[in-house]
Point group: C2
Chain length 329, copies 2
């Protein structure tokens, strides 16, 4: 440990999103020394994107009063389909125009640092495992609830990124084989089509159209019918909002139970905007999980909220680079 | 290699079932030197069971003209819920009266050999990975289709037995969240409730009761309405049988796709009695998988039948003992 409590070596973690780039310097114990955020401006394409990532990287290092030489390696979490072995993006829907871009090698070249690419949701799961809500666990799943449902799996301390860079895409598990809802990916019955924030709003609009029963949600302008508004109405005792939130919890429990019957982790984590709903929502998910799985497993599984919020991605990306250089934390 | 082509050390593999015990000596290259089968007589309880397992073990060694000292270790695959860390059965539904029995340690003591306990379906998956249809793969899932649906996962060469001895229980993944069929485990919507041989017969009986449309299946006495009979009627061009078999393939594909979106293996294997349906059934599963997953993944995934038949369990159990002693194959 250095005299100021920082533990070298330092790793630079970057969380590339369709809207923002989050970036920070993380020390060897997983403490984020700095954290900065700039707009991605993804529509300006990948060449601009590389410059933008480099800008964010240097800002994060400068903010920590560190020199560039202090950075041992760079970890980069990215959304979208990718080929991790080649460090390539494939067809990332949140980064239009970045198709088949050799993101890892181009960034490594630009930064002059060893750079490790990982799926953003997998990186977030690793972050939670390293220094977040999953510190005590050996194996965990993190569901990140937002527009879609991101997912990352840590099995025996390591990311399950799969044989085709497609591990932990649990938002696309099929939870309704017959008459399934349409998913954003174009297929049907996927978890994301039932339990994401977007799907919750869609189910709310459908329910409102179905009958004339009174509901706080009915008083909202269509553009104000958001997952936050539904959550608020639930807290205010609205019956329809309660049904919708409980259904959401049940669908999430279905996804969780299927993963419990596959990987059998010791911890299920939920993160992302929707966990703003707080403890009653978590308790509802827990109760639904308990009703759907074997008694022994229901007693043993821990179900919690994630702890790192929006920092999980860049911290986990840094942890991934660290793991590649020096081994598991 | 010894002069007769056998490669020591030798491992004894045992596949304990509710009806039969299968047992064989397996050499270091995964070749089964002997294979014997005796009735379990499970209803006579676990003390009798230990004697029965010992009898099978000695028969298998004698049949190979080997001495007991030639056996380096014993691997035992068992059905039912268990606590692998303690080597205990918990509440195995196929072994009534064996609840909370310390199977591993009692057998080790009786045989005087180091003994390693594993779930039978996990052992079968390891067997296929070692010397069966999964030899070339790094990660695979084996679905064994019978009365229920057994499942084992090999991830990066190792069994995923999970944090609560509950890994690879994919027969209990939830594939129908709303209005799901009742599973043998008492919960609803599980894969097994849709795609096991038992469930196929149940769906057939329901379809026959629904209308009077002509079908070869209608001519069968109720006790002759089996998965084999449905398969036979399908081959003979019966429309209802075709619908039922295609539905079964689709449900299996749903399970396969959810695992592909979780572990992302390179190989999905199907084994057990129902694969007697042969190539058209496999092709139907493949085609359904292709329609349900991402194009890149559909191109990359291999979907095959298992190769070891009923020997997978004891060979894999031997392989598990071998792995515990000398490391991965």
């Amino acid at each position: 440990m250095s005299s100021d409590g920082r533990r070298p070596p330092y790793f630079l973690g970057i969380d590339l999103g369709g809207t923002n780039i989050k970036c920070g310097v993380v020390d060897d114990s997983g403490t984020a020394l700095t954290s900065i955020r700039i707009a991605t401006e993804a529509d300006r394409g990948p060449e601009f994107g590389i410059e933008r990532l480099a800008e964010a990287a240097h800002m994060a290092v400068d903010a920590g009063n560190l020199g560039w030489d202090d950075v041992a390696a760079v970890g980069l979490g990215s959304p979208g389909t990718m080929d991790l072995s080649r460090g390539m993006l494939l067809e990332p829907s949140n980064l239009p125009g970045w198709d088949h871009f050799p993101l890892r090698d181009r960034l490594a070249e630009r930064l002059g640092k060893r750079t490790f690419l990982q799926n953003d949701a997998n990186a977030a799961a690793l972050g939670e495992h390293w220094v977040g809500a999953g510190r005590q666990s050996t194996s965990l799943i993190l569901f990140t609830l937002g527009t879609g449902i991101g997912c990352g799996i840590i099995h025996e301390g390591r990311i399950v990124d799969g044989r085709h860079s497609h591990g932990g895409e649990c938002g696309h598990m099929i939870i309704q084989a017959d008459d399934g809802r349409l998913c954003s990916c174009g297929r049907t019955g996927h978890l994301e089509a039932y339990a994401s924030a977007t799907s919750l709003v869609k189910r709310a609009a459908e329910a409102l159209a179905e009958d004339d029963a009174p509901s706080l949600l009915r008083e909202l302008a269509p553009e104000d019918l958001t997952s936050q508004a539904i959550d608020r109405a639930w807290r205010e005792g609205d019956a329809l909002a309660s049904t919708l939130m409980r259904e959401t919890a049940r669908y999430l429990a279905v996804g969780a139970v299927s993963v419990m019957h596959t990987i059998d982790p010791d911890l299920i984590l939920f993160g992302g905007g929707m966990i703003g709903s707080g403890r009653p929502f978590l308790d509802e998910i827990r109760s639904q999980i308990h009703s759907m799985t074997f008694a022994m497993l229901a007693r043993a599984i821990r179900v919690e909220f994630a702890a790192l919020g929006g920092d999980a991605g860049f911290i986990g990306a840094a942890g991934y680079a660290r793991g590649a250089l020096v081994g598991p934390h």
